[in-house]
């Protein structure tokens, strides 16, 4: 079974190639069969791998499949190899399993779109790149997959390219993540200079000795900081978080797959993968936690006042990834990956059911224009209740509770009181904005006439993800022992029960208070909300704390000013003469193409005479 590992990567890639070269000749059903089938095949292979991995774990807890040598430069010969261990197996399960459900849903959601097969070719390419990212045994491959998913994210955000706003959202996502990628690339160069290898296992083995001096500690601190820069870019954490809300311009299944379940969690994966480096630089590791804590609070406040259903979910994604970063900062590596997995389940569910709502309301995304959809869209309603419950971490019956509580407990047990309190307050915010979203969309008076979807590709993915978002998902235990070090507070006992009770009551309290305010509408509170100061705060939160405004003033406008100043300088003019010359040469040579055959024959003959004459007179 293990030697089929390459299929997980090769099947989606083959699907991409078939769809890309088929160029719409396949028809909608053909494209759906290839696009969904290839990811389904990868999911099947992954299921087989999971069964084998749990039944008969490979020697040393990891299996490496060397396909070929990628390149040979001096002593640097990276193998083209795939490595499967508990961490990458968990990620594979999420990518192919949730990915398959989203592909299946997309085959319903995208029906009738002009770019149907183009959509699936990009999605397949994304899955292939993401699988490559988590399977690569070398940081170079990780980086390759990292850039590949970035490209697919760009292509899919701008999928409806005829609207200029979508194109600029795609460019924004690409450029902002590129800032992080540059940090990461420099970090990788530095790592290679220090250790002479980028093979992940060798890096993890060599690092503790190699960085065991004063200068070594400085170096590893720099490397960890640069890797963190890459991770915050990809995972939309402070200060590179501004691209994620705009990325919602893409089709909703894209938001579910790329901007909620898989790609944006790549930063978490990267830090967990290189955890040894972060453990060698404790202050950077704490910074990871602080970045996560600040982001989760900031995104939580912003989500409270958003009016676009997808933007609420985008900010909630940002804040949940903040939780994962918080866990990484607290040294709770397994808890971060566990939350990554459950988050993939319930956030994919929320995004897909949001897609169902949006399509049912004729591409309406403003929640103020929805309302009362509970009766017309019962399936989407229940998906939102369960997914929202998991997001708000309702105790014991949802998957999100088990992972989020684990994070809070580990932060508490590790003595990170600042992170713990931020996480607890974030849990309150999460339950408030989630409840607000569900109440506004599904309760109250009916404002639009909605048409519920039907068909197996509509309800099956929702149903499967619905089940996984309940406590069933919390029962899945990722096989991370031996890959990631144990967290400080394993097997907490009574203290952990106390934290569970605390976080659970915070979540339920937030839900109850929000529902109470929504249904009773106390007059004093409404008056307070109308006050100018409250409105100003609301606007500030709505703009996500003004980061877009700040970056626009600080970076974008100076850059455009610089471009304008430089556009007429000496170099520009000097370079401008080359195309000018070429244009003249073009006009001249066009004149010789008269279209008269006799003229060609004459110049032919004249040329031949010239050449013969030249040969004769030279010799």
């Amino acid at each position: 079974m293990y030697d089929l590992l390459f299929l997980v990567f090769a099947l989606p890639l083959a699907g991409f190639l078939i769809l890309a070269f088929g160029r719409g000749r396949l028809g909608e059903n053909g494209a759906a069969a290839v696009g969904v089938g290839s990811v389904g095949g990868a999911a099947l292979v992954t299921a087989g791998l999971v069964a084998q991995f749990l039944g008969h774990p490979p020697d040393g807890g990891a299996y490496t499949q060397v396909l070929w040598d990628w390149m040979k430069v001096g002593g640097f010969t990276p193998h083209f190899a795939l490595r499967l261990d508990g961490l990458s197996l968990t990620m594979l399960g999420v990518i192919t399993g949730v990915g398959f459900m989203i592909h299946l849903f997309a085959s319903w959601y995208m029906r009738g779109d002009d770019g149907y097969s183009r959509f699936f070719s990009y999605m397949n390419l994304f899955v292939a790149s993401m699988v490559f990212l988590v399977l690569g045994d070398n940081l170079l491959f990780l980086y390759f997959g990292w850039e590949g998913v970035g490209l697919c994210s760009f292509l899919l955000i701008g999928f409806w390219y005829k609207d200029a706003a979508n194109g600029s959202a795609a460019r924004k996502a690409f450029i902002v993540t590129r800032v992080g990628d540059t940090f990461m690339a420099i970090g990788l160069f530095w790592l290679f200079r220090s250790l002479g290898t980028l093979d992940i296992q060798q890096v993890l083995q060599l690092a503790p000795q190699a960085f065991d001096s004063e200068s070594g500690r400085q170096a590893v601190r720099g490397i960890a900081l640069l890797l963190l820069g890459g991770a915050v870019g990809k995972s939309a954490q402070l200060p590179l978080q501004t691209w994620l809300p705009d990325a919602m311009a893409g089709p909703t299944p894209v938001s579910a797959l790329i901007h909620a379940a898989t790609m944006v969690t790549a930063g978490v994966y990267l830090i967990a993968r290189t955890h040894v480096l972060f453990e060698l630089a404790p202050d950077v590791q704490h910074l990871v936690g602080v970045v996560g804590a600040v982001t989760l609070l900031l995104a939580g406040f912003t989500a409270l006042v958003q009016t676009d259903i997808k933007r609420v979910l985008a900010y909630s994604t940002m804040s949940q990834i903040g939780y994962m970063f918080l866990a990484l900062g607290a040294g709770a590596w397994s808890a971060a990956i566990f939350h990554l997995m459950t988050h993939a389940f319930f956030k994919a569910l929320l995004f897909l059911s949001a897609g169902a709502v949006i399509l049912a309301c004729h591409h309406e995304q403003d929640i103020r224009k929805m309302g009362g959809l509970r009766k017309t869209l019962p399936l989407a309603f229940w998906c939102f209740v369960v997914g929202g419950g998991a997001l708000a971490a309702v105790p014991y019956i949802t998957a999100g509770f088990y992972s989020k509580d684990e994070i809070l407990w580990q932060a508490y047990a590790g003595g990170h009181m600042d992170l713990f309190l931020a996480g607890l307050f974030g849990a309150l915010l999460t339950s408030i904005y989630t409840t607000r979203l569900i109440l506004v969309v599904f309760f109250g008076e009916e404002k639009t006439h909605a048409h519920a979807g039907h068909g197996v590709s509509y309800w099956l993915p929702l149903a499967v993800l619905l089940v996984l978002s309940t406590f069933v998902g919390g029962l899945i235990h990722p096989p991370l022992e031996g890959v990631l070090p144990a967290a400080p507070g394993e097997g907490g006992g009574a203290a952990q029960l106390g934290i569970e009770a605390l976080s659970g009551s915070v979540a339920i309290g937030g839900i109850l208070v929000t529902a109470l305010v929504y249904f009773t509408r106390p007059r004093a509170l409404l008056a307070l909300a109308q006050a100018p100061a409250a409105q100003a705060v609301r606007r500030f939160w709505f703009s996500a704390f003004g980061f877009d405004w700040l970056y626009d003033r600080l970076l974008v406008r100076p850059f455009f000013w610089l471009v304008r100043v430089c556009s007429g300088d000496l170099f520009d003019q000097a370079i401008g003469t080359i195309p000018e010359l070429l244009r003249h040469a073009n006009v001249l040579s066009t004149r010789t193409q008269t279209g008269r055959m006799r003229w060609y024959a004459a110049s032919f003959a004249a040329g031949a005479v010239l050449i013969v004459a030249a040969v004769m007179f030279r010799g």
């Binding site: 066009t590 193409q593 008269t594 279209g595 008269r596 055959m597 006799r598 024959a601 004459a602 003959a605």
Partner: protein
Amino acid sequence: MIVPFEQVLFVSGVLFVLGLMGILIRRNILFVLMSIEVMMNSAALAFVAAGNRWGQPDGQIMFILILTLAASEASVGLALVLQIFRRFKTLDTDAASEMKG
């Protein structure tokens, strides 16, 4: 009687220039085709003469090659002539100048 090599080459050159002139001057595509045949045959004549001059069979082999070449060229050329006539209703080569510029 053996004709001297130079004279044969001279005749061949004259034939070649005549053919070239035909191509350059005539506008009727049939005459252009015929002029091409004349040029080919002048080259073939030069080969035969050269083969005779150095006592080698290669010249005659080349002659047979050129003969087959001319035959196939004539058939392709005539097919093209038919197509051009159908499309432009004329045999004027200058009419088929849509690729100019």
